[in-house]
């Protein structure tokens, strides 16, 4: 196998010229700072010492969060920008689907734009002529091809751009998040085209947020984060590593939200409607919930769980004096403010007798059967008649993830049963 794309210790430092936001040539000349102003005064590292290879004939996906340097990497491979350090080597003709229809002129017809765009992408006039019918058919724009491009809808515009770029017949195709260009059927056509390129031994480098696409299309994946390569190799493994890191970040963000909510929760009066969703904390604090922790399957406190995990909500409680009348309650809300579930010890026929000093209360959920989403948690301790000791209204945020994207709120444990003449692939 030969290498089609090779990045060796590539760094890209973007220069920013922020010091002269409003600077003009006149003032530069007057202040004799022309040369100094042409020099950047601030830098931003978009890629740091990244190396990876793409084998000829393989399809490789680059994944990562926003701002991780994915697109920069693609632009470097395309040759649109030059690396600040290191080397980028590409063998074979490149076509880059970075922005579709870049360079279309709105005033002239689709036909003329196809020619100019094709020539811009490196075809000769005759080559465009040969491919013209394929391009127009692929873009499904036969009736409109002689209308000025300014009359096209954005979908038509993108389709034409995509059609031209993919018919350049590149050795190396670079794709930057452009599959959201048409309806379902056009997307399928694009994917088929990628498949065809793959069969014909062309190299494809895709930058995308669609992990499913990477898993389905790619032979290998590269995960970039903060301009540095994290993991590369088998797509499943790379995606797994990436998702774990994303979860970790989400956890941190949620912990920050929660601690901010707890910190700023001002004691306020309970509203008449218990289910009206507002954050807050109120109560006499004679019986106080000092901390709340959600513990997942791992036994570690967490804020991100998977559907069906076991989760315990652990309350640490302190009673200032011996109290006989108390009810513990827990409820879960989704982001729409809908109460998904709520219960308390009184509803569940537990009659309180006594609590004193420090205590632990755990609400253990064996299967967290919620659909994917973000949820907020109420925990409370109050008197049987409803007068609160300590009411935490929606101060705790947690996230439920799921491999299936079912809808609604509740995901009961279930299975499908079919008679033998119903078949699935």
């Amino acid at each position: 196998m030969t290498t089609a794309i090779e990045l060796v210790n590539v760094s890209k430092i973007y220069r920013r010229y922020s010091g002269r936001q409003f600077a003009t040539l006149k003032s530069a000349l007057l202040k004799r700072s022309l040369l100094r102003d042409l020099r950047p005064n601030e830098t931003f590292v978009a890629l740091k010492d990244v190396s990876f290879n793409v084998e000829k004939g393989s399809t490789v996906g680059v994944i990562g969060r926003n701002g991780s340097g994915k697109s920069t990497a693609l632009k470097l491979v395309a040759g649109i920008t030059k690396p600040s350090a290191g080397n980028v080597r590409v063998t074979g003709r490149i076509s880059a689907l970075i922005e579709l229809g870049a360079g279309f002129h709105p005033e002239i017809s689709g036909r003329e734009n196809v020619f100019i765009n094709g020539i811009m992408l490196g075809l000769s006039k005759r080559e465009v002529e040969e491919r013209f019918d394929d391009i127009v058919n692929f873009a499904e724009l036969r009736e409109f091809i002689d209308a000025p491009v300014k009359t096209y809808s954005s979908g038509m515009y993108m389709r034409l751009g995509f059609a031209v770029a993919i018919h350049v017949d590149p050795e190396v195709l670079l794709v930057d998040e452009v599959l959201a260009v048409g309806d379902e059927s056009f997307t399928h056509k694009c994917l088929d085209k990628f498949g065809e390129l793959h069969r014909r031994g062309k190299t494809v480098l895709i930058v995308t947020h669609s992990l499913g696409l990477v898993e389905r299309l790619c032979d290998a994946a590269v995960w970039l984060d903060g301009g540095e390569k994290q993991v590369e190799g088998d797509p499943k493994r790379v995606i797994g590593a990436y998702l774990t890191a994303v979860e970790e970040t989400e956890k941190q963000q949620m912990a920050a939200t929660t601690s901010r909510a707890v910190r700023t929760a001002a004691p306020s009066l309970p509203t008449d409607d218990m289910f009206q969703a507002t954050e807050g904390r109120w109560g006499s604090r004679e019986l106080e919930i000092t901390s709340v922790e959600l513990v997942g399957t791992s036994g570690q406190p967490s804020l991100v769980f998977h559907t069906g995990d076991s989760v315990s909500i652990q309350l640490h409680v302190r009673a200032a004096r011996s109290i006989a009348d108390f009810v513990f309650g827990v409820s879960v809300f989704n982001t729409d403010g809908v109460c998904c579930f709520g219960t308390n010890t009184d509803i569940e026929h537990m009659t309180s007798q006594r609590i004193e000093g420090e205590a632990e209360v755990t609400f253990a959920i064996d299967h967290l059967d919620l659909v994917e989403g973000t949820y907020k948690l109420d925990v409370a301790v109050h008197r049987r008649d409803g007068v609160p000791y300590d009411y935490h209204r929606q101060l705790y945020t947690f996230r439920v993830k799921s491999r299936t994207h079912d809808v609604g709120v509740f995901r009961p444990a279930h299975r499908w049963i079919f008679s033998p003449n119903v078949k699935f692939k």
């Binding site: 003009t24 002239i108 003329e112 020619f115």
Partner: protein
């Protein structure tokens, strides 16, 4: 730099189609369409003729017919000034290409110059028609020099266009400065007045520093006056133009990598 100049030749097909696009797009949607290429210089000419033959009468018999004399200088000037004006904004309006497509940026200012050159050539057709109308023909012996002047002007304009385009990417007000500078330059060049006026000859050394002075005088001598005596200066200017082109290209090449980040 010279390697880049070499690849530029490979892109001549692209330059060609972009010039065609520029010309098509400019008049697409206008009623008169391509006829504007002829109407524009005609209108300009009639304005100047009216002002300088009716309101501010010029008496020199050597410049008659005055309209024809003026047109000989006005036509190349329009090419020059419009090229520079278009070139300064070419990188910014083509920013999409520079940022998103592997694209040799110098093509953009070059296209501006060449598209205006096409207008210039179309203007020559009108000029020829005027010559027939006025029965005032250029001397056959001087005519072979005409392509030389055009070539010198082309190279000179390209050099300035590249430098200005590169500067405008960093300093947006280059455009505004240029507009004023071009007005000054126009009046400092013998286009609407003949170069042999006594008032011009008094400051001749100063005029000779103006590159466009030599171009204008060459055009006028070749196309309007009887003999061409400016060949030596023209050839010197030719050398200077090559220098200008190389300097402009060098500046452009130096700043090339920053374009994708500043436009």
């Amino acid at each position: 730099m010279f390697a880049n100049l070499g690849t530029l030749l490979r892109y001549r097909g692209l330059v060609q189609s972009l010039v065609a696009r520029e010309l098509k797009a400019r008049y697409r949607g206008s009623v008169l369409g391509f006829v504007w290429s002829f109407v524009n210089p005609l209108l300009l000419l009639s304005i100047y003729s009216f002002v300088f033959t009716t309101i501010m009468r010029s008496d020199d018999p050597r410049t008659r017919p005055y309209a024809l004399f003026m047109f000989c200088g006005l036509l190349p000037w329009t090419w020059f000034s419009a090229s520079l004006t278009d070139a300064t904004s070419s990188l910014i309006s083509g920013g999409n290409l520079i940022k998103k497509v592997l694209f040799p940026a110098e093509v953009l200012p070059i296209v501006s110059v060449l598209a205006n050159m096409v207008h210039f050539v179309l203007g020559l057709v009108i000029l020829a028609a005027f010559m027939i109308g006025f029965h005032h023909y250029p001397h056959a012996a001087a005519l072979p020099w005409f392509p030389v002047v055009v070539a010198v002007q082309l190279i000179f304009t390209l050099g300035l266009a590249l430098a200005l385009a590169a500067l405008t990417a960093h300093f947006r007000d280059t455009r505004d400065l240029l507009a004023n500078l071009l007005t000054l330059w126009f009046f400092a060049t013998p286009i609407i007045y003949p170069y042999f006026r006594p008032s011009v000859e008094r400051f001749l050394w100063l005029f000779r520093l103006n590159p466009f002075y030599h171009l204008a005088v060459s055009y006028q001598e070749i196309l309007f006056f009887e003999q061409f005596g400016h060949a030596r200066s023209l050839l010197l200017l030719g050398l200077l133009s090559i220098g200008t082109f190389l300097a402009g290209y060098w500046l452009f090449d130096r700043l090339r990598d920053s374009f994708a980040e500043v436009v």
